[in-house]
């Protein structure tokens, strides 16, 4: 059995399938509409799951059903999740624009279906380096790594630090 180390435990937040960006941050709560743009941190899932923003802790993990982040191009949806410190998102399939936006912002997204394996509120420990999730009931779940050409973006912490460091796009030869 895995011995839990000093890494802080994270809470699992379970979400259903086809979670769209209007559910993550409704258009009315866009930074464009706000007097104070930092208020965005109060609005992730403001209508879909009103307890989320107040209770989420840095490092917590979102585990969702299929097609997470479908809909709009609004980068303030993953940005709001980053502002509250979401540590990773795990879903069987990510909508394309959301995936790019999250990658660009440095939010780890793992493509895997854990909806039947975890429960809402469960405590886990996520080893990002190894892509391993240790659960509070002693299980170890290996998460699939992101596509090779994107791993370097992820390692750099997002597309801006990546591009500033290397002066090229992911997958492009140096």
């Amino acid at each position: 059995m895995h011995i839990l180390t000093e890494a802080p435990m994270a809470r699992v937040w379970m979400f259903g399938q086809d979670i769209n960006t209007d559910q993550i941050v409704p258009g009315r709560y866009a930074p464009y509409m706000l007097k104070h743009e930092d208020d965005l941190r109060n609005y992730p899932f403001i209508e879909h799951r009103p307890d989320f923003a107040a209770q989420v802790r840095p490092g917590d993990v979102i585990v969702a059903g299929n097609n997470f982040g479908c809909g709009s191009s609004r980068e303030y949806a993953p940005l709001a999740l980053r502002m509250v410190g979401v540590g990773a998102i795990v879903a069987p399939l990510f909508a394309r624009i959301f995936f790019r936006n999250a990658l660009n912002l440095g939010i780890p997204c793992f493509t895997a279906d854990l909806t039947g394996q975890l429960r809402d509120g469960q405590q886990v420990e996520l080893d990002l380096e190894q892509g391993i999730l240790h659960t509070d009931d002693g299980r170890t779940i290996q998460l699939p790594p992101p596509p090779a050409f994107l791993r370097e973006v992820w390692a750099a912490g997002g597309i801006v630090p990546f591009y500033r460091a290397y002066g090229r796009f992911p997958g492009e030869h140096a």
Binding site: Q23, Y32, L79, R100, P170
Partner: protein
Amino acid sequence: MAQTLSEQILSRAAGRPVRAGEVVTVDVDLVMMHDSLSPSIIRVLHEELGAERVWDPERVAVVIDHVAPAASVQTAEKQADLRRWARAQGIAHLFDVGRGISHPVLVEEGLARPGMIILGSDSHSTAYGCVGAFGTGMGTTDIALALATGRTWLRVPETVLVRARGRFRPGVGPKDLALRAARALRADGATYAAVEWHGVEFLSVMERMTLATLSIEVGAKAGIVPPGVDRGQGTGDRDGLALPLASVPGWLTLQEAAEYSQVVEIDLDALEPQVSAPHTVDNVTDLSALGRVAVDVVYLGTCTNGHYEDMAAAARLLRGRRLAPGVRMLVVPASARALQRAAEDGTLATLLAAGATVGTPGCGACIGRHMGVLAPGEVCLFTGNRNFRGRMGSPQASIYLASPEVAAATAITGYITHPQELLASAEA
């Protein structure tokens, strides 16, 4: 080696033949940014990427359409900043309040053309597929990086083919085809893929935009209608709108042996009006199977169905009739040019005489910010593209997506209605 339209466009841009699954870095032909994401795009461009200028002001279009006209001091101030920034950057393609939604505007202005790669800060940038361009939506950071460099990375998509056969019956149109495809493919059915729409050469450019914009609702990266016209039928386009379709680069052709990851066949002769019920776009049924749904609001607008053709289709049903008691009808034209054409030929007068009202061309209430936001418990028949919970305002409101013909028929009766019921009596 036969290629899909996306493979042809990305091969040309990459300077080598590429196939689905490869990752390419390409020069982009045009970048569209709108008022909603522009403040963050400009911040990332200057402060995070350290770029002082956009790479080519001629290849950037700035459109104020998401909250147009401004609805608050905050939005007004950000729009004023955006105008100043565009001027300072030497961006001539600034389309201000009232000009309309970015997608039809860029097509009308001749900026979006066949074979181009167009990035937009809006998910419905798949729209540019209506003229055979590879249009795709991206967020703040990707758009800022494209503005700084003129380039982006793309994974060459597989292509899902939607092949239509036959002709629409009266009261049935492109929206029904697109919703029928969403019903078959589901909301994630074309994720990371492109959609090609074949068998629709008889549609006008803006009718093709209905198909292209709805491609993102099945997850697609691009939604392309082959840029040919049906010589027998013509397209009914005016004001040079069909010009791009007549100036297709020789390298962009439909190749019979191209590989498609999936084929969806739709028989237009048998197609009935489709309705997407709350709260997902792929929750689609035949209207005839829907049962009786009373509505409070009928909203005709958006880049999907706020075009001249859509207003004209609604006017054909509304001519000489009035809205049902207690029903409001908002018409928000997709562009100033569409509104002008509707004003010139009496379409607008017909809509107004029936009791509809008209808003400033732009995105309107599609994002739930202004110009027709819904109250809890309200039911809206919407010609747009998303019926997500809370999309148009209260999360307790219900949004049904359907065609402009269904919208008009519904406005007359007060419940979601098959246009044929009214077309029959209109012709009698």
